[in-house]
C-alpha cells in the first residue's frame, strides 16, 4: 500500500533534476550546441564562407581558435554555422516523423486488428526494411543532392519509429476504464485519441523525440559526408570531415573539431533523452531510488 504510493515523499521536480547527473550533462551539452547555433546568426569570429587561401591550414591559435581549413576558413565559425544546419535538418526531420507517425500510430491503435491497422503497420515494416542512408541515396538520385532532400529522407525514416511507439502505448491506454467511460459517453475514436490518448503519451514522445533528434544529427552528418546533404558553400559538419580526410596527417585539427562536435552533441542529446525518460516515467523513477 504505502510502498506503491510515490506521492508520499515526492521530492520537488528541481531536486530530481539536480539528482540526475546524466540529465544535467545532457542538458548542458545540448544547450552549448543550440546556443552556438543561435549565436552564429548574429556573430561568428570570422565569416564562415570567406576563403583566405594564404591563411590556410593554420593549427589552432589565439586568432583562429580551432585553426583554419584548406581554403583558410575559420573552423570555429564553420562549426557554429554547421550547428545551424544540423539543427535545422534534424529538427524538421523529427517534426515530419512526429506529424505523420503519431497520427498513423493513433489511427492504427484506434482501429486495432482492422485492415487499416495492418496496412499502416506493414507499411512501417517496409520503411524499416530500408536503411535511412539508402532512402537518402534513392531520393538524391532522383531529385539531386540538397539539404531539403536530406530532411525528407531522414524524416521518412522517422515516421515508423513514432508510429510504432504511439501505437504500442496507445493500445495499452485503450483498455483503461476512462477510455471505456468516454466510449459510453458516445465519444468517437478521433476524439478519444486526441483527448485521452495523446496527452497521456506526450512524455514518451518527448523522450523519443530527443533521441531521434540526435540520430537525425548523426544521419545528416553521414549524408553530408558522402555529399548528399547541404551543398557548398553552406558549412556542414559531415562535409568538414570529408574535406579533412585527405589532409588528416597534415592538419589533424580539421578532422578533430567537427568530429568532436558531432560526438558531444549526439552524446548530450542521448543523455538528455535518458535523463528525461527517468524523470518522466514514475516507474523508472522509483526503481532508481
Amino acid at each position: 500500500m504505502a510502498v506503491s504510493d510515490p506521492s508520499l515523499s515526492e521530492p520537488g521536480l528541481l531536486r530530481q533534476v539536480l539528482r540526475s547527473r546524466s540529465l544535467i550533462i545532457g542538458v548542458v551539452l545540448s544547450a552549448l550546441f543550440i546556443g552556438a547555433a543561435l549565436v552564429s546568426y548574429v556573430w561568428t569570429p570570422f565569416d564562415a564562407e570567406t576563403m583566405n587561401i594564404p591563411n590556410k591550414l593554420k593549427p589552432p591559435n589565439l586568432v583562429h581558435w580551432f585553426g583554419t581549413d584548406h581554403f583558410g576558413r575559420d573552423i570555429f565559425s564553420m562549426i557554429m554555422v554547421g550547428a545551424r544546419t544540423s539543427i535545422a535538418v534534424a529538427l524538421i526531420a523529427v517534426g515530419i516523423g512526429m506529424l505523420l507517425g503519431v497520427p498513423l500510430g493513433l489511427a492504427s491503435a484506434a482501429r486495432r486488428g482492422s485492415w487499416l491497422d495492418e496496412l499502416i503497420m506493414r507499411g512501417n515494416d517496409l520503411v524499416f526494411a530500408f536503411p535511412a542512408l539508402l532512402i537518402a541515396i534513392m531520393i538524391t538520385a532522383v531529385f539531386g543532392p540538397s539539404a531539403v532532400n536530406a530532411i525528407i529522407a531522414i524524416g521518412i525514416f522517422n515516421i515508423p519509429v513514432f508510429a510504432r511507439l504511439t501505437r504500442g502505448s496507445a493500445l495499452s491506454l485503450w483498455t483503461r476504464d476512462y477510455v471505456l467511460s468516454a466510449r459510453v459517453a458516445g465519444k468517437g475514436a478521433l476524439r478519444i485519441s486526441v483527448e485521452h490518448i495523446l496527452p497521456n503519451i506526450t512524455n514518451l514522445l518527448i523522450v523519443q523525440g530527443t533521441i531521434q533528434f540526435s540520430l537525425g544529427i548523426l544521419a545528416e552528418a553521414g549524408l553530408s559526408y558522402v555529399g548528399l546533404g547541404a551543398q557548398p558553400p553552406i558549412p556542414s559538419w559531415g562535409r568538414m570531415l570529408a574535406d579533412s580526410q585527405t589532409l588528416i596527417t597534415l592538419a589533424p585539427h580539421m578532422a578533430l573539431f567537427p568530429g568532436f562536435a558531432i560526438l558531444l552533441t549526439v552524446l548530450g542529446l542521448n543523455l538528455m533523452g535518458d535523463g528525461l525518460r527517468d524523470l518522466l516515467d514514475p516507474r523508472l523513477r522509483n526503481a532508481r531510488r
Binding site: A2, S9, R183
Partner: protein, 537 residues
C-alpha cells in the same frame, strides 16, 4: 514466551511515521487475524517482520522470533530466516510467480537455497509440498507453468513455496482478496489445515472482517498505524470496547435504507432476450475455422424502471461481456438488447439517444479518470451525448449540482483527480454518471475496491440517489453481501448462463440451484449480529 513477539514497534519511512507502538504476539498453532483498512499499516507490520521494508525506513522497538530480535539481525541473517523460519504469501497470485519457470522449480528453489539440497532431493520435497497443498501429481506435474493454472491453483503454489520448509511463522497478506468466493473458501480451509498439521503460527492480514472472524483465534484491529483493539475472536466481537471496532463491524454488514421499489410500470426499461456472444479462440490448424468460446449463452432478463437488479457470478462467468454488450461497447452475435423498447445497436452504430439513457461506474477508482484533466472537465464528459450541451454558467451549475449530489463541493471541480482518495474518486465517477440524468446506471463492481467504511457510505449514497432521481441500477458484483444489501432482484450467472433468478431475499434465503447454494455457503460470514446486540445492551 510467545513464538513471535512484536513489541512496541515504531516505523517511519523518510521521516513520516507509519506505525506507532504496535505490539502483539503469535503462538505456535495459532491464527492471528490482523484487520484494518487501507493505510492502517497492517501490511507494513508484516513487511517489518520480514524486514522487507522500503528504503529510508527506520524502526524502533523489537520483533522477537524465539527470543532473537529480528531488528538486530544483518541482511544476511534475515535471508537465512526468510523462506525457512518465516514464510510469506502475497495477495496477487498472478504476479507472485515467475512466468518462465515451472512450478516445480519455483517451489524447489526455496529448498535448494536453504537446505543446500541436491536438485533431485529438492524436487522430491517440492512434489511432497504440492501434494500437501492439494495439487496432486497426476493433474499437476512439477513441469507445469503458472499460466496453465487458475488463480486459486496459483495461490496454492505460492502457499507451497512459503511452507516447503515448514516455517514456524507464516504471514499471509490478503491471501484471498483477488480470488472468487468459492476459491477463497478452499484456500482458507487449506491454510487452516496446514496450521494445524505443522503447528505453525499464521498471521492473516485482511480488510475483510468476515474472512478473519471465520478463521482466526486472536484478532488484532489496526487503524492509522496503531493497534486499537486485540482479543480472542470469540469474545472480541461481543465486547467490542473500541468505537472503531464497532464502526468497522457495522460497516461490514451495512444495509442502506432504501425506499420500497415503486409499483412496476408495464414496460421494462432494459430487456435482454436470448443474447449470445462468441469469441474466436486461436486457430488450431491453418485450414479449419478457429474454435469459438461462448462467453454469454442465451441470456434473457429484464429490468423495470426504478428497480435495482444484481448480477452475481465468479470471474469468467461472462458478466463483463454482458455488461459491455448492454453499454453498447461490443456487439452480440445473437439476440437483442432493448432500452425503452429501442435496440441498443442499429446497424453497427449506437444511437446517441440510447447512450443518453445509460451510464456506467467502474470498479477501479484509480483507473477510471484521465489524470490530465480537471474534475470539472471529467464530470462533464457525458455532455458529449447531448445535442445542445450547456455552456458557461449553466455548465458550471450542472457540475456543481452533480458534485453536490454525491456529497462533494463545487470547488472540488477545479482539482485534479490525484488529489482525491479512492472513495472520493468513486463519488466523482458517480457524479459523472449522473450529470446527464440517465435512467439506467450500470455499476460494474463499483464498490469492490473500497474499504468497508467507505463502501458503506457509497452504498448509502447509491440508495439515496436512486430514491431521489428514480434511478435504475444494474449492480454487477462478485460480493454477495453487497448485492444482498442493495438489490431488489438478483441474477446468478455461471459459465455464460443465468442459472437462477428471483427476489434477492428469496434467492439468498432459499437458493434453488446447486451453484447458488455453493456460492452462499462459501461466503464468509460475520458472527451473528443478534448475539452481539444482546451483549452490548
Amino acid at each position: 514466551m510467545s513464538l513471535l513477539q512484536i513489541d512496541q514497534l515504531n516505523l517511519a519511512i523518510h521521516g513520516t511515521p507509519i506505525l506507532r507502538d504496535v505490539s502483539f504476539h503469535l503462538d505456535a498453532g495459532q491464527i492471528v487475524g490482523v484487520i484494518g483498512e487501507s493505510g492502517s499499516g497492517k501490511s507494513m507490520t508484516a513487511y517489518s517482520v520480514m524486514q522487507l521494508l522500503p528504503e529510508g525506513s527506520t524502526t524502533t522497538g523489537a520483533i522477537r522470533l524465539n527470543g532473537d530480535n529480528l531488528l538486530d539481525l544483518s541482511e544476511e541473517q534475515m535471508c537465512a530466516l526468510r523462506g525457512d523460519e518465516l514464510g510469506m504469501v502475497f495477495q496477487e497470485p498472478m504476479t507472485a510467480l515467475n512466468p518462465v519457470k515451472s512450478i516445480g522449480d519455483q517451489v524447489a528453489e526455496t529448498v535448494r537455497i536453504h537446505r543446500k539440497a541436491s536438485r533431485a532431493e529438492s524436487l522430491r520435497i517440492a512434489r511432497e509440498t504440492l501434494d500437501r497443498v492439494e495439487l496432486p501429481a497426476d493433474r499437476f506435474p512439477l513441469s507445469r507453468f503458472p499460466h496453465e493454472l487458475s488463480g486459486g491453483q496459483r495461490q496454492r503454489v505460492v502457499i507451497a513455496m512459503a511452507i516447503a520448509l515448514r516455517p514456524k511463522v507464516l504471514i499471509a497478506d490478503e491471501p484471498t482478496t483477488a480470488l472468487d468466493v468459492t476459491t477463497q473458501a478452499q484456500i482458507l480451509k487449506l491454510l487452516r489445515r496446514l496450521v494445524r498439521e505443522d503447528n505453525m503460527a499464521l498471521m492473516l492480514i485482511s480488510h475483510d472482517l468476515a474472512v478473519v472472524s471465520d478463521l482466526a483465534d486472536e484478532i488484532v484491529i489496526m487503524k492509522s498505524g496503531t493497534v486499537v483493539e486485540t482479543g480472542s475472536a470469540k469474545t472480541l466481537f461481543q465486547s467490542m470496547t473500541h468505537p472503531y471496532t464497532k464502526k468497522l463491524f457495522e460497516a461490514s454488514s451495512h444495509v442502506p435504507d432504501r425506499a420500497e421499489a415503486e409499483s412496476r410500470t408495464a414496460a421494462p426499461l432494459l430487456k435482454v432476450s436470448h443474447v449470445s456472444r462468441d469469441y474466436a479462440l486461436p486457430r488450431t490448424s491453418l485450414f479449419a475455422p478457429p474454435p469459438k468460446f461462448r462467453a454469454v449463452n442465451d441470456v434473457s432478463f429484464q429490468i423495470q424502471q426504478g428497480e435495482s437488479l444484481g448480477l452475481v457470478g465468479e470471474s469468467g462467468c461472462g458478466k463483463s461481456t454482458l455488461t459491455r454488450a448492454i453499454l453498447g461497447l461490443e456487439e452480440v452475435q445473437e439476440g437483442t438488447i432493448l432500452i425503452d423498447g429501442v435496440p441498443v445497436f442499429s446497424g453497427h452504430q449506437v444511437r446517441r439517444d440510447i447512450r443518453q439513457k445509460m451510464q456506467v461506474v467502474f470498479q477501479d477508482p484509480y483507473g477510471s479518470f484521465n489524470p490530465r484533466h480537471r474534475v470539472a472537465r471529467l464530470v462533464c464528459e457525458p455532455f458529449h451525448l447531448l445535442d445542445r450541451p450547456p455552456r458557461g454558467a449553466a455548465r458550471a451549475e450542472a457540475v456543481a449540482e452533480a458534485l453536490e449530489s454525491v456529497g462533494l463541493d463545487e470547488a472540488d471541480g477545479r482539482k485534479y483527480i490525484h488529489e482525491f482518495s479512492g472513495g472520493q474518486r468513486q463519488r466523482i465517477a458517480i457524479a459523472r454518471a449522473l450529470i446527464i440524468k440517465p435512467k439506467l446506471i450500470v455499476l460494474d463492481e463499483a464498490v469492490s475496491a473500497l474499504d468497508v467504511s467507505i463502501r458503506a457510505q457509497i452504498l448509502d449514497l447509491l440508495a439515496d440517489l436512486s430514491d431521489r432521481f428514480g434511478l435504475t441500477y444494474l449492480f454487477i458484483s462478485h460480493d454477495l453481501s453487497v448485492v444482498r444489501s442493495i438489490t431488489d432482484r438478483v441474477l446468478v450467472m455461471k459459465a455464460g448462463q443465468i442459472v437462477e433468478e428471483g427476489r434477492t431475499d428469496a434467492v439468498f434465503d432459499n437458493p434453488q440451484h446447486a451453484y447458488t447454494q455453493s456460492l452462499i455457503a462459501a461466503a464468509p460470514r460475520l458472527p451473528d449480529r443478534q448475539e452481539q446486540k444482546e451483549v452490548s445492551q
